[in-house]
Amino acid sequence: MIDAQMIQTDVSSALSPEELSEIDGELAHVPYKSGAAIDALKIVQAKRGWISDQSLQAIAKYLDMSAEELEGIATFYNLIYRRPVGKKVILFCDSVSCWICGCDGIKQKLTDVLGVDYGETTQDDAYTLIPVPCLGACDRAPVMMVGDDLHTHLDEAKIDALFSDKNKKAGGNS
């Protein structure tokens, strides 16, 4: 996964002063640098949307870790993205209560409207669709998050309304 040409990553050209300053803030309350690994990944992802190979190399170097160790951490967690994502990530809950309440049909509708399946990003880079473990809103199932917003009691009409611009585009392009 890691490009050999980037072994000599220059931290200060790969990470912005703001990112480095925020990572320093986390380093202040961990006993050793690698303790801030997840925080550092999240800080960089918050600015750039995802963790590129170059970002990963630079963070690892800054935290005195091997890139391989940091890669093991980055790929372990559901909410760290090692591939580019759209402007908003759709976290679709397909766990048990949402399934009982019919989320499979909603998922199909979502896929039809957006033209993407799990792990894919819409052509205009607006949305990436991924499944998420139970979102803890089971009394309002089926649910999903679009960016930071929780959408509850989903039905096909709600999907149409949420992505009405997408509907038109999909119709126009196809």
């Binding site: 093991g72 967690y77 909410l79 309440c101 499979d104 473990p133 809103a137």
Partner: protein
């Protein structure tokens, strides 16, 4: 009944700020403890109250805390109090409500818990998707620092505590306390071998207590009003109140604070309004996705740890998932196993490889490709993967609980899938086809 945990939670579900929290008796427990009680006094009250952990295991909180080395029995250095706010159990949605609507109740409970074990640093480990709760806790923490409830020399007592919010990068296994500690240390969230237990060697190798949100929300009330008062709240064997929830196809799904020991029938019929029209109750998981099914025969049982345990299940999180008669039990178990297989940390073989094997067998049965001998395979998997000791942690044994009880109670449904060569339930899109 008296509302304790939800007394500041109105029907508008708006957050309670510091002023409103204080106006309703908030931070009185903290003031009382810092002025009048030693850490040992606080521990004695919590032990006497018989508070049991609300995260799922039901371990007595006072006993858990009693293993933390105190005074000169502890080597010099930090001690940690960690709130497990990583609510990811399928079907659980109680801690979200407590944190979104009354963040100070959790923070006051955490300060008192930290005081009891003499911790000087505390973390709230919260799942990253809880963006509203994260923002409200952040605001509440800032209010606490400004008011002198957190930081150095709290209320002039000499006790100091810093509290940090740590939004998780997301994995179900982070809810296991030693995996959570690894995640806080910036590592992969593989559970640790025990012993050593976190109380002795946890975060950064220092004594650490990890408690669930709801457990910690009880602490200030118990310190303020006493163990005897807390015991009177339960109507069965256990003390206090409990957040109970119901999800699935019932008329009024939701989450309510009720006395410990409330009969299941009351929760399901009076609170959740019973089944939606045209549906019958077939079974239910009483405490989230990793608990055994119970059936309509169990409706008059009390929601107490031991009562539900004797019936062959666990009270778990207290949030029930309802299976109706038009939803496929095989499909439901497949959904759960798929979840647990995906969320396995991959550390030990029975879980990493066993759960996908179980998923495959269930996918075959659900999609009509099942064979009679598949049921023997499932029984073998339940006995092997489900046995504590064969796996590194409790994830895979927990995953086997709904499967083993489904095989017991809904055996006919498995047989009909296999003999008919298809799923006999047509109300849902079939999985794995």
């Amino acid at each position: 009944m008296e509302k304790v945990l939800t007394r500041n939670i109105g029907s508008d579900l708006q957050p309670t700020d510091l002023k409103a929290y204080e106006a309703n008796g908030g931070y009185q427990g903290l003031r009382k403890a810092l002025a009048e009680l030693s850490p040992k006094d606080c521990l004695d009250v919590i032990s006497a109250a018989n508070l049991r952990g609300r995260g799922g295991a039901g371990f007595p909180t006072g006993m858990k805390w009693s293993f933390v080395p105190m005074g000169d029995k502890c080597t010099p250095g930090h001690k940690y109090l960690v709130c497990n706010a990583d609510e990811m159990e399928p079907g659980a949605f109680k801690d979200r409500l407590l944190m979104e609507c009354d963040p100070h109740q959790l923070i006051e409970g955490m300060i008192l818990s930290a005081y009891t074990i003499d911790a000087d640093i505390s973390y709230i480990f919260i799942r990253g998707e809880y963006v509203v709760a994260i923002q409200r806790l952040r605001d509440a923490l800032a209010e606490c620092y400004a008011a002198g409830y957190l930081g150095d020399n709290i209320l002039g007592s000499g006790f100091s505590l810093n509290m940090y919010l740590h939004p998780s990068a997301g994995r179900y296994i982070c809810g296991e306390e030693t995996a959570l500690i690894n995640a806080l240390e910036g590592k992969r969230a593989n559970p640790r071998a025990k012993p050593p237990f976190p109380q002795v060697s946890g975060l950064w190798g220092r004594p650490t207590i990890v408690n669930n949100v709801e457990t910690l929300c009880n602490i200030a009330h118990i310190i303020d009003r006493g163990a005897e008062w807390f015991k009177t709240l339960g109507v069965g064997e256990d003390s206090g109140t409990k957040m109970f929830g119901v999800s699935g196809r019932v008329k009024n799904p939701g989450c309510w604070e009720l006395p410990m020991g409330t009969p299941i029938r009351h929760i399901l019929e009076d609170r959740a309004g019973g089944m939606q029209d045209g549906l019958e109750l077939k079974g239910f998981l009483p405490g989230g996705g990793s608990t055994d099914f119970l059936t309509p025969d169990h409706l008059d049982l009390a929601m107490d740890y031991n009562v539900i345990g004797k019936a062959g299940s666990r009270m778990g999180t207290g949030t029930m998932i309802i299976l109706d008669d038009q939803t496929c039990p095989v499909g439901m178990v497949l959904n759960l196993i798929r979840f647990f297989a995906h969320e396995s940390c991959g550390f030990c073989t029975p879980c990493r490889d066993g759960l996908p094997w179980t998923r495959q067998v269930l996918e075959d049965i659900e999609s009509g490709r099942g064979r009679a001998e598949d049921l023997d395979t499932l029984a073998y998997q339940v006995s092997y993967i489900g046995a504590m000791g064969n796996t590194h942690c409790a994830l895979a044994p927990g995953a086997m609980e709904p499967l083993q009880s489904a095989l017991k109670y809904f055996r006919d449904d498995f047989d009909r899938h296999i003999s008919g060569g298809s799923c006999p339930y047509h109300s849902h899109t079939r999985q794995g086809a």
